[in-house]
Every structure is written in C-alpha cells, then in structure tokens.
Symmetry: C2
Subunit: 209 residues, 2 copies
DNA sequence: TTTCTTTTACCTGTTTTCAGGTAAAAAAGC
DNA sequence: GCTTTTTTACCTGAAAACAGGTAAAAGAAA
C-alpha cells in the first residue's frame, strides 16, 4: 500500500525539500502540498489522506490546533509535526492533540525517513533533538498550558510593550488596581516570578498575539 | 560562466529544497552545502566561491555577523540572506553588513529564482514580503541594532528566566551593583522602558541565546 | 437556575526596579 | 602603544512591581 501523503508548510522551499526526500520512499505518494492549514482542511473533506507532514508555525491556524481539529474527525490519519526550534510544552501539546510524531527540521535525512516509516507502523516518533527536549521533564511542563483570557492577553501584550500598570490602566480605561489584579493572576496562572519571565514564556509558547 | 554557489542552513530539508530549486538554473553550480557558519568560513579560505545563500538564524554565528565577516575579506562575493520570518531592522542590518539581498523562505520559487538572477547581475534584491516590510520605515528601526556583549547576554538570559538582580549577582558571583549597571546599560542601549519590553525585543530579534 | 469563569475593584506592606550620577581596572581592537 | 569597549563597582531617591489578602458584578456554560 502507498500512503497518500500531504505536506503543509508555508515555505515552498521546505515543501520542495521534503518532497525530494520522500521521493526515495516507495510506500509514500505525495498527493498534495499546501501552504496553509485552511487549504488542507478543505482538501481532506473531499479526498483520502493517510499521512500529513505539517509545520507547527503556520499563518492562520497553528499546527497544534490544526492537528486537534483534524484528529477529531479523522483519528486514523497519521500526523507528524515539524518545526525549526521547539519547546517541550509545544511538543507535548501537539502529541496530546493526537499528533503521531514530532520532528525538528534540523534532523538528518536518515532521521526524517526513519521517523516517517515508524509513524506509519503505528509508533509515536520523535527526532533526536526532540527526544532530548522531552526527556527533561520539568514538572511545570507536565501540566497542560492554560490559555489567557481576552483581557489577560490584552494586558500581557501591553506589558510586552514596556507599559507600566498605570499606563495600561489608562490605555484600557480601567482602574490601576484592576490591572494589578489581572497581572498578578497571569503570573500565578503560569507560576512566573515576574513579568520578564512571563513575557519570555508567552513568546516562546506563542501565546501572545 | 557558472557561479560557484554555497548553501548554508541548519535544516537539511531546506538545503535540499534550495538545491532542487537551483538545479533549474544553469548558471548556478552548487559546490558545497553547510549547516553552520564556521564550516563555511573554513571552506571559503581555500576554495573559490561566487555566491552564498545563507540562513540568518544559524547556531553558532548568526547570519548577520557571518555576512559582515565574509564581506570584509571578500567584498565581491554575493551573499543572499534567508529567514522564515523577519523584522525590518534585521534585514537592514544584513544589507548594512554587505548583504546583496534578502529573501523570505515563504517566497515562491519564481521569486527565489528571480532574486538570485538579479543579485548576480549586481542588484540588491528582496522578495515580495521583505519589500513590504522595509517599505514601512519606523524611526526606531532605522538605527542599527547594537549587539549585546557576552556579559550583557548572560544577564539578559537570566532576566528572561525571571531572576532578580540579586539572584543574578549570586549566580554570576558579581556585586549586586554591577548587575544593576549592566541591566541599565542594556536598557539604555536598546532604549527600552523596562525588562519586560527588553525581553520581548530580544526574543523577537533573536538576540538572546 | 446554578455554577464557574471572567472582569472589575480595593487595601497594605515589602521588595525590586528604574533613573540619575561616577569611575577604575581589564580586555579587545587598531 | 594607544584607544575603545567591556566589565567591574558604588551611591541615592523615586517609582513600580510583587505578594498577601478580599469581593462583587457580569458573562458564559452546564
């Protein structure tokens, strides 16, 4: 059997690279290539797909959410995530959403191919560097990342722009004390010591904007 | 004449993609591929190279500094920068360091090829999205981004981990006052209001780690 | 309707940051 | 050797963040 495979990446160059790599594997048949998740969602509604290789950082819908959406409808579809650099929490979330594997783009060709073959065989696969990342379990990472509420995100965004509590209160027409409460709640939610650590965390986990 | 071309990117997949793309161009001859800048520096010492396509976010030396180093020794060498996403300031700095063009990896194949051909012809080239980015001149971006010194980077990194001035002083065996001075210097260097804004700026511009 | 989450707001006190100085030894660059 | 940058260090006072509470109104979800 040949696995009908789709590649999703917003970089044509990367698509071409993967396609070239996969041409060696005779159990893989590349049926389509997309630069965004929405195009993919439309496609799988009307076509049979067995395997998806997707970038995690995509324009409109990110890969983690995209994976969840697809897996809810097509649980048997095999999805492998890819990214340039990654955080433990991101990989875990992807797997939690049903992903069958995660490969860093700096993986060697050999690693890539092996991961794909083993994923097809039913395993959950990771490239070497991803294994390194996930083998250092930090207790905080084990918990699912809660999301920011709308107001919290507004405030976090202004904090990342260097605004003080008072300035944010003025910008959003809120009481100084309200903003103070929100800020503290955000810090507590992610167990962060201060705003600097928070901003670093939010940016690395793409929770901002 | 065939241009002896080198590709530098830490993602094998991307190298493969570009190589495939360039195989269409018969005035380009790919002589070598590297995953890091240091390997490239060694190579060009002993071989003739006419054109370099380099990723900006590279492990040890970043592409902007790498470009500067190479151009100082080999001003005629044509260097085209590439990255996945980019900031105006980063592109400007690359060009200021002698880069002959800048292309986003989400550029179409046609754009890629055209950029390369025009760069060879002596032009400074940008892919469409890069043109968009640089055509919105923000005054702050017009100034060159200074880089962090080693000590400053150490301290900025610890700041991004939520450490306080005292904790950093303890970690690095420095006086509290010394760390305070460094932190202030960093803030002044980038004209940032506070550490939160600083961390956001550093992460977005990949000046950290 | 009841429950949970979100958004709003207040009070107090301690710790830390931020902004303004200055300056000398060490290292790096030319 | 000379110059510039980096690293080290100190002083002070105002501003802001942080940590600990509490709590009510509004909105969403069950």
């Amino acid at each position: 059997m040949r696995y009908k495979t789709v590649i999703v990446d917003d970089h044509p160059i990367v698509i071409s690279g993967i396609a070239g790599l996969l041409s060696d594997l005779d159990n893989i048949e590349i049926v389509e290539k997309f630069e965004s998740g929405v195009a993919l969602l439309d496609y799988i509604e009307e076509h049979t797909v067995d395997l998806i290789l997707m970038d995690i950082f995509l324009p409109v819908i990110n890969g983690v959410d995209l994976c969840k959406t697809i897996k809810q409808k097509y649980p048997k579809l095999i999805i492998i995530g890819m990214s340039s650099q990654s955080e433990r929490s991101l990989v875990m979330q992807f797997i939690q959403n049903g992903g069958n594997g995660y490969v860093l783009k700096n993986a060697s060709f050999g690693e890539f191919k092996e991961c794909i073959n083993r994923a097809i065989a039913g395993e959950i696969v990771f490239s070497e560097e991803v294994k390194m990342i996930i083998s250092q379990p930090l207790s905080e990472d084990l918990e699912r990342i809660p999301s920011l509420s709308r107001r919290e995100r507004d405030i976090a965004l202004l904090l990342s722009q260097g605004k003080s509590t008072q300035e944010i209160a003025d910008d959003l027409f809120l009481s100084f004390l309200t903003v103070q409460t929100h800020r503290r709640n955000i810090l507590q939610k992610y167990k962060m010591k201060n705003v600097a650590e928070l901003i670093a965390f939010l940016l690395k986990n793409n929770l901002l904007n």
